[in-house]
Amino acid sequence: MKFGILVNEGPYNHQAVDSAYQFAKAAIAKGHTVSRVFFYYDGVHNANKLLEAPQDERQIGKLWAEMAKEHGVDLVVCVAAGLRRGLKEETLAEGFRISGLGQLIEVGIQADRMMTFGD
């Protein structure tokens, strides 16, 4: 099955992005495809390259970037939501790209299931 994922909350404050990651990881392990993860609302903060959690904690941005590299998951950050929150090319972590909301609607059309994580 082909999944699209929408992440609506930022890093660490909420479980949402971790749940999304664990879901994607489990889905891929079962042979499914995660074609795109779209980061919206405060979810855009997950793509900030300046994130630096203590060393013994999970590095959320890096985990996603690794998944993207290994499994071809397209990580898309909403441009409008990003600009509101100070996320732009200069602060974008490796593995993510900035684009429009059309990318969310498009994956909704193309995927078999659209999963939302966060409020």
């Binding site: 919206y40 609302y41 059309g102």
Partner: protein
């Protein structure tokens, strides 16, 4: 309405031929958080994709379409006017949950757009028939 929010233009047409049933579920009050505004931005973009778009208003989400809003005192823009522009984009399937409406002392006349008031059970059934449900 473009002074209120950017609306999609013809250059954003998307031709995949696939038409899915999208539902945007509005659960939160128009102000106090940004969810309502950013859901509306998703709705507007979806209009450019020629999809079968539905909007549901449940819980405090129905306050988003209440008439006579003026949030200038809290430094917010009154994006409720944008809901009136949706029919120009063929987004005309708006549903309000009856139980939530009655709990809030609202009636159909309080809304600034035409809505269909349906029961919680009907809303659940409608939602169940959707291909994509995006909620905030």
């Amino acid at each position: 309405m473009s002074e209120v929010m950017d609306l999609p233009g013809d250059d954003e047409e998307y031709a995949s031929g696939v038409v899915k049933k999208f539902m945007f579920v509005n659960r939160k009050a128009p102000h106090g958080s940004i969810y309502a505004l950013e859901v509306l931005e998703m709705v507007l973009i979806s209009a450019a994709f020629d999809q079968d778009v539905h909007l549901a208003f449940i819980d405090d989400g129905m306050y988003q379409i209440v008439k006579g809003q003026d949030p200038t005192g809290i430094n917010q823009k009154n994006f409720s006017k944008t809901f009136r522009a949706l029919d120009g984009y063929d987004i005309e399937k708006l549903y309000v949950e009856r139980e939530g409406m009655e709990e809030r002392g609202l009636t159909e006349d309080d809304f600034l757009v035409d809505v269909e008031v349906i029961s919680q059970a009907e809303m659940a059934e409608l939602m169940n028939g959707m291909d994509v449900v995006l909620s905030a």
